[in-house]
Amino acid sequence: MAITEENPGYKWVGTRPIRPDGLEKVTGKAQFGADLMLPGMLFGKVVRSPHAHARIVSIDTTAAEAMVGVKAVITGSDFPDLAANGAHASDIDVASNAIAREKVLYEGHVVAAVAATTRDQAEAAAKAVEVTYEVLPHVLTVDEAMADGAPLLHEGMITKGVDPAPENPSNVASKILHERGDLDQGFGEAHVVVEREFTTKPVHQGYIEPHAAVADANTDGRAHIWCSSQGHFQMRAYSATVLGVSPGNLKVTAAEIGGGFGGKTVIYLEPLAVRLSQRAGRPVKLVMDRDEVFRATGPTSGTRIRVKMGVSEDGKITAAEVWMAYEAGAFSGSPVGAAGMTAIACYDIPNFVVEGYDVVCNKPRVAAYRAPGAPMAAFAVESVLDELARDIGMDPIDIRLANAAVEGTQASYGPKFPRIGFVETLEAIKDHPNYTADLGPNQGRGVSAGFWFNAGMMSSATVHINENGSATVVTGSPDIGGSRQSMALMAAEELGIPYESIKAVVADTETVGFNDVTGGSRVTLATGAAVVDACRIIVEDLRARAAKTWDVEVDQVEWVEGQAQHVEGTQPPLSLNDLAAKSGRTGGPISANASLNSRGVGAGFSTQLCDVEVDPETGVTRVVRYLTAQDAGRAISPDYVEGQMQGGVVQGIGWALNEEYIHNPDGVMENPSFLDYRIPVASDLPMIDCAIVEVPNPAHPYGVRGVGEVGIVPPMAAVGNAIRDAIDVRMTDLPMSPVRILEALNEQSD
């Protein structure tokens, strides 16, 4: 079901052709990160800290180096000391996370790496690296990290964003604050006020493909890296920083990627593989095991969030007060900033204070995860809004409609919203049959909404017309959500040739202009706009060539459905095939580049409706029905848009019900496997119904907003609100696992 504001009569945009990467993937030909084999290639293995927090007293590599097959062993001292070189703090953190120098800050932190002829030799050598640690006390949660006298991760960390600056260091990296109006007045005007406190656990992006990198270094300082990432230009930049070389010395080729969700925008293995390859004089492959993926990559923050909100009798939110603390893991940079900006962005609220803290602790450094920071804040805010609606007896969609941000609303984070489609997503839910479907015993229904900015940033594209009139669309944006199909569909629309005549590819860092990461739901918007620009340059060129052929002015030539037509019809049309075949006589190859820094991102909103059934005797919750409505702006490829919408929901359901990092008191992760870190399996889920809403983004040639992230913002509260409806218990701690639900039910009946 789609709501299309107007039907622009597109021929290709909005269709559902066969995905271009499907065949290679299902036949096993696609080359993922770990698939590349090079002649003479060595296998690497990383040595990781068994402690959550410790000083590295010494590392003895002699035994490992003496072992059969071992060709290289590296430690932190094999990399430039960026702190000593006065580098930027964020670069120092990237380097220190890639390989520890003085201290290890979490269990799984890299301390050394080895390369050997076989995998078994590498594993044995990794075990033979002798690291002496002085174990330090650790902190695992924001509560522990913010407590008085807590052990410090970074002795010099002074909280930013506090005036005057604190005198003493702490684990609080920064504070954020957004304020408007007068809180006391707002709460004074409220008919009902609800306040609740919530906690969430770190959760992992859960991509199926573990991180992998192959590096082949030359003796002249150059190196070639193949890796699975969400941005090979970013991998190049970070690797160059850690290795202390010019980015131009590194060439990075993007492998096919088996999921990223934000977690593959950061480096882990790449600089280690390059250094090992340099030391060994041979190509080196590093591949993480699943437990390494859990212990050392991702996740997103665990949080503690307090929300207090008041509403008038007719459901107008009069005031909101939000306090939140987000775990950053070992280095500053939790997504609390985005959380603060998104927490109440769905609503037009006159009085609010949103206060947030970025807190370091002895867990892996958090990485981006779909709409970073927004889902936890939405869990808290949307749960409280649900309580308020119940207290005043208002329909959950109606209370959201009564407060919804619309075009012209001043967003809680500053700017005025341009045309947005939040109201349309609310209406799409209300109009859907699921909204009034009958509920069985122990079943309940929940509504929740979410906001995400979507990003623009920098992209480049090149379009080549081949000699038979087919086209190759080249970008540097790794395809994690179907972007090759979307690029080809937009190019088909622009050039007026069939989708099947277009091949979209992802080129390496030396073959196409710069592209920022595939993240922030930005690729179809920004890289797509670059593709459209390049196609339009080509169409101009084709018109000029036709004009030259016909000896007429360019303005006498139109480009219609893949052919040049004379406006007065005095010439037989020239198809793209004709022009391509004759390109040698009309100016040479037909090709164009476009690069841009995208402006005019279109914010994304999603409203979701969830029905659950709770077994009151075991606490097991099953999702029985689910509907997600999301404003795509324009669904270039509806199949992939639905895939993104459903994917976000599925990850959100996992986050809501079962996913969590479990650490023992020593700070060691207890569940680093997909057996005990429970992402949903197919049979856990009903069909996720999708309502694509299309309120075009005026700043994009096709109205694209970006769809990859906002879908994960509402699910936790949608599930929690449905559980509340089913069993009368408000769950405030994630995950809402059977154990927690049964505990809550027991308390309720006591």
């Binding site: 097991v620 019900l657 057996l675 949903p680 399996v681 049979s683 049964l742």
Partner: protein, 289 residues
């Protein structure tokens, strides 16, 4: 590491008694992950699936004989077996996924020694016996006696299970197995409960066996629940006695998969539900309902 695939029971036992660090395997769905995780490193891996009697299902008038290495998929797909032992078949059908069940065996499920193994409570309530081969011939042991603790067996290093004997289901009887997992599949039982009942002609319960998994170091019987059921119908009072006895007999651990309190409470719930299903099956099978 060496792989060997003997074709007879004798060949296998002599291999085991001559190679001290040998380990048998059937589907290897436990063995391979354990090797990968570095939790075991046998010098010789003995594949049992090439021995004919270990991969077979035979029925006679008094019993079923199921080869210890038979893929559980063969069992769940055997219609006659699955109709007679619905609970045991369902328990075997819970193991992993279709892919896993094309390899996993009852012998492996039992001898892996996990307290959470799904088929074991269902085998225990059905009084299944293991036929064990060793250098000095074969012996027979109740399945309930095979596992003595997590990963601990009463088998000698040079013994292995050849087959399971399962007496034919008596008249007016039914079995059931339920497990609690947070997901719907691909998970480990947090609590498992098996039950089998035989009804008297008047419809009251003549015999009952209740066994729990994942709530103690080994699968445990719940004699007090059994006693509460015998001579009664499954009414509210007897069922709450069953639940109470089941919770009482638990000796679970607190771990990442569940708390002690949760396991105890849910053991009671599942025991009660399993008994109800078993009774219903017994009634249906004899046209009482």
């Amino acid at each position: 590491m060496k792989y060997v695939a003997p074709s007879s029971v004798e060949e296998a036992t002599s291999l085991l008694s001559t190679s001290p660090s040998a380990q048998v395997f059937a589907g290897a769905t436990d063995v391979v992950p354990q090797l990968r995780a570095g939790r075991s490193a046998p010098e010789v891996l003995v594949d049992l699936k090439k021995i004919q009697e270990l991969v077979s299902i035979v029925k006679d008038d008094t019993k079923w004989t199921v080869g210890a290495a038979t893929p559980t998929a063969n069992l769940t797909e055997d219609q006659a077996f699955s109709e007679e032992f619905q609970g045991l078949s369902e328990a075997a059908g819970l193991i992993g996924s279709d892919q896993i069940q094309n390899r996993s065996s009852l012998g492996g499920n039992l001898c892996n020694g996990s307290p959470a193994a799904d088929s074991v409570p269902a085998m225990v309530v059905n009084g299944v016996r293991a036929v064990i081969a060793g250098p000095n011939g074969t012996r027979v042991l109740d399945v309930a006696e095979v596992v003595t603790g997590p990963g601990q067996l009463s088998l000698e290093d040079d013994e292995f299970i050849v087959e399971f004997e399962i007496d034919r289901m008596p008249e007016r009887s039914g079995d059931a197995y339920l497990r609690m997992i947070p997901r719907t599949e691909m998970d480990i039982a947090v609590v498992g409960a098996g039950a089998r009942v035989t009804l008297a002609e008047d419809g009251s319960i003549e015999e009952a066996i209740v066994a729990l998994g994942a709530v103690a170091p080994t699968v445990v019987r719940v004699p007090e629940a059994e006693a509460a059921l015998v001579g009664n119908t499954p009414n509210e009072q007897t069922l709450s006695a069953v639940a109470g006895a089941a919770s009482e007999v638990c000796n679970p651990i607190d771990d990442k998969r569940g708390t002690i309190a949760y396991r105890k409470q849910v053991a009671g719930v599942l025991a009660k539900r399993a008994v109800l299903i078993a009774v219903e099956r017994a009634q249906q099978r004899n046209g009482m309902k």
